[in-house]
């Protein structure tokens, strides 16, 4: 209940800003709605942008249940996209199995990128927040390097990018959305499963979990790998479903935004779906606002930030009052 109050308050703050700066609130809302959902094209844009957010957020939510905070979505997405590119630019990319192979490669790439921070955490207790963050930079550098060397498009382009994927490897439109929905459904099941509950126990009273056979190493490593795989899959979706080739902007901040979506959705699959669409709509609809009222499209980013703040407050408040489930 309180959660929604904070969200509404967040939107109210934005509305207030718009009104105080002399903006036309009704026009802005209409413009936003049109920009995000008004036409089939705009709606599709919004959903396509929401899809990788959902994937990353679902992964993050798994790790959060074991109190593992992974901020490595960016790097894992990149790693997934690189792995998928390598596989899909090989003869496998033209085979009828290109889609599953690409997905597999993406997930594996993301998981491998999460393995290192995972091992450092389990072995030496190095904070996963630090290491996953560092791995983001590593991945970005690796991407830039590969795009200038072995993965570079031989056919002349000046920008560092790979060759286009073969048609068989491209993910046709509704499929990615179906994939996100299927994974969300799986996540709904998982969050109600015994393993998820054991992770809760692990997160709050480790010795009780260990007595139930939940080893610290396995619990943390497994959730890190799952969240990495989910982000890697998002990398593949972005690659095969949107860009069609690997370039420097493949992750485009989605790894971080996915984390925000996980927090907005309080780590639950249903709310994550809603949060991802709202979050995506704030980006896609912002242009509509600018178009309709002249308010700069940056208002979308401002709103995202205010919402994050509101949610952080709501989460803190509910912690203090002691939550029960």
């Amino acid at each position: 209940m309180r959660f929604w109050a904070y969200l509404v308050a967040g939107f109210a703050v934005v509305a207030l800003v718009v009104v105080l700066t002399g903006g036309d609130l009704v026009g802005a809302t209409a413009g936003w709605f049109h920009g995000a959902f008004g036409t089939t094209y705009n709606l599709t844009q919004t959903l396509v942008y929401a899809t990788p957010l959902v994937l990353v957020a679902l992964g993050v939510s798994v790790a959060l249940r074991a109190s593992v905070v992974s901020v490595g979505g960016e790097g894992q997405m990149i790693a997934g996209a690189i792995a998928a590119t390598v596989v899909l630019l090989s003869p496998a990319g033209s085979s009828p199995l290109a889609l599953p192979l690409g997905a597999l490669a993406g997930a594996a790439g993301g998981a491998i990128w999460a393995l290192l921070p995972g091992l450092a955490l389990v072995r030496w207790g190095v904070s996963e927040i630090l290491t996953t963050l560092l791995c983001n930079y590593l991945a970005a550098q690796l991407l830039a390097y590969l795009l200038r060397t072995s993965l570079r498009d031989k056919v002349g382009a000046a920008t560092p990018q790979s060759a286009s994927l073969p048609d068989a490897a491209l993910l046709p439109m509704p499929f990615q959305i179906i994939l996100a929905l299927v994974l969300a459904a799986a996540a709904v099941w998982w969050h109600r499963s015994r393993s998820a509950l054991l992770l809760d126990v692990f997160a709050s009273r480790r010795w009780l979990a260990e007595r139930l056979g939940v080893g610290a190493g396995r619990a943390m490593l497994a959730t890190m790998l799952v969240s990495g795989a989910a982000a890697g899959l998002a990398g593949w979706v972005q690659l095969a479903g949107v860009d069609g080739r690997l370039d420097l902007g493949i992750s485009g901040g989605i790894g971080f935004s996915g984390l925000i979506v996980a927090v907005l959705g309080r780590s639950r699959p249903g709310p994550i779906l809603v949060a991802a669409v709202v979050f995506a709509a704030l980006t896609t609809g912002a242009n509509g606002i600018q178009f309709a009222t002249g308010i700069p499209a940056a208002i979308g980013t401002v709103t995202q930030a205010v919402l994050l703040g509101a949610v952080a407050l709501a989460v803190t408040a509910s912690r203090r009052s002691g939550r029960s489930w």
Binding site: S193, L198, V201, R211, G322, S324, W325
Partner: protein
């Protein structure tokens, strides 16, 4: 002349009327004991006086004027110090840092804080080192530390919520001597206890709460023990006559030359617990009890030596919330050690219905009140949390059980029931290691007693030879 009082104070929680028009007054120079069964409303009353909660309706009066403290810090600024039932120290920090944290200065004055704490500790005559991480102190020590913390901030009213629950008789007696001295110097003391001997030793005035109402109040000298017990918990069940246990079997838990360090280290300690046997561990707090319990329970791997277990090992840690999932609904804490059983999941998904049924039954069998599996653990009274924890751990006939202060915070009746439960578990073949600050309960239920001092076993004797003087000599805890 009263300094702090509750005037017709009520407090309702969703499931219970915790306080119902309660009047309670503390006076300078007086030690006031607050008694009552588990869940009677004692902590609620004290929390209201300390500014952690508010009466609804009702009033708190300070020096005769109605006040409304904004927080515990606010109350402390008015000279009201609290030692809460659930510790409130930041475990990662030292006591001095905790004090610095509580003060209004922006700069942390560690050295000054440390000095003031040492002074305060001397006034109450407790040995608390202000410069160790409070996490490394035993539970009794941490409560003494909170007392010192309140005194270092010049409290003129001390509100103590079961300050002696984790202390043995010698430490308790020392503390009472100092409380009397403080009272003589004009401090008002209100303390909660479940032990009548303590009331007799130190209290001038007694108030008994029952179901949120004042059931008796007056001078301690005006009332006898039997009346107090009857007002608190009704008639007591007879103490079950002790049958000597014949069926003591093979060892179920063996410690061979183990060493470990959990704040108070143990060295080269060897100890076997046999099936069907209760081994009592006595000693002055801080002599390795915690390390022994943690190692025996398998929660801490010993730095040296070996530990062998033959089956499941139950564990009741000294700090009860350690063994529960606080903030979550009671049902999860009730079921947590048995989550692997197939009946609690259907096709991998947790079966809430089965969990709730199991929890409801467990709460009823162990008299946890209110018996509602949906309430957050933190809303249970301290004693009911304890019953939940001990009940859960002994419920399943474990091969061995390590119980550290299992009757802490329990009222007379519940304490008796837990002791019978321990005896029943042993009769059923469980090997029990009972680490306790209370020689009385060890005498009542143990077959064999070991005495711990400086992290080593310094004495061992059959319970039949139990003798206070012997224990005192072995622990060097008495100062006479």
């Amino acid at each position: 002349m009263t300094v702090l009082e509750l005037c017709s104070a009520s407090r309702r929680f969703p499931r219970v009327q915790a306080l119902d028009r309660v009047d309670l007054a503390v006076r300078p120079g007086e030690v006031h004991a607050l008694l009552g069964e588990n869940g009677a409303g004692k902590s609620t009353a004290i929390r209201i006086l300390a500014g952690l909660d508010h009466p609804d309706p009702g009033e708190v009066r300070l020096d005769g004027r109605a006040v409304r403290f904004a927080s515990r810090t606010d109350a402390l600024r008015h000279g009201i110090g609290l030692v809460p039932q659930t510790e409130s120290l930041v475990g990662e920090l030292t006591l001095a840092e905790n004090l610095a944290l509580a003060e209004p200065h922006r700069v942390v004055r560690r050295r000054a804080a440390s000095r003031r704490l040492r002074e305060a500790a001397t006034t109450v005559g407790v040995a608390v080192d202000p410069d160790v991480r409070t996490r490394d102190l035993g539970r009794g020590q941490r409560q003494l530390a909170e007392l010192v913390l309140a005194l270092a901030q010049d409290a003129r009213v001390l509100l103590l919520d079961e300050p002696t629950a984790a202390l043995g008789p010698y430490e308790t007696r020392d503390m009472f001597t100092r409380l009397r001295a403080l009272a003589a110097a004009g401090v008002a003391v209100l303390f909660i206890t479940h032990r009548l001997a303590e009331v007799r030793a130190v209290a001038d005035t007694v108030t008994v709460l029952a179901h949120g109402r004042v059931a008796w109040s007056g001078a301690g000298s005006d009332v006898d023990d039997a009346t107090l017990i009857r007002t608190m918990v009704g008639d007591l069940p007879d103490t079950p006559t002790r049958e000597p246990r014949t069926a003591i079997g093979a060892p179920v838990l063996r410690l061979a030359a183990v060493s470990a360090d959990c704040g108070d280290p143990i060295h080269d300690l060897s100890l076997d617990v046999h099936a069907g046997e209760v081994v009592g561990v006595l000693g002055v707090a801080g002599n390795g009890q915690r390390a022994l319990a943690e190692v025996a329970a398998g929660r801490v791997r010993p730095a040296g030596g070996t530990r062998t277990e033959t089956g499941s090992v139950a564990y009741v840690p000294e700090t009860r919330l350690d063994g529960l999932l606080p903030g979550r609904a009671v049902r999860w804490s009730a079921v947590v050690s048995r989550l692997r059983e197939p009946r609690f999941a259907r096709r991998g998904v947790v079966d809430r219905g089965a969990v709730t049924r199991f929890a409801t039954d467990l709460l009823a069998r162990h008299d946890v009140r209110p018996p509602d599996p949906g309430l957050p653990v933190l809303t249970l009274s301290g004693g009911n949390q304890q019953k939940l924890l001990v009940g859960r751990e002994l419920d399943n006939g474990p091969a061995a059980a390590v119980l550290h202060g299992p009757t802490q915070g329990l009222d007379v009746r519940s304490a008796k029931e837990i002791l019978s439960e321990i005896a029943r578990a042993a009769a059923g073949g469980t090997g029990v290691l009972l680490v306790s600050a209370d020689p009385g309960e060890v005498r009542e239920v143990a077959d064999r007693v070991v005495v711990l001092s400086g992290g080593r076993v310094v004495g061992e004797f059959p319970a039949a030879d139990f003798d206070d003087a012997l224990v005192r000599r072995l622990t060097a805890g008495g100062d006479e």
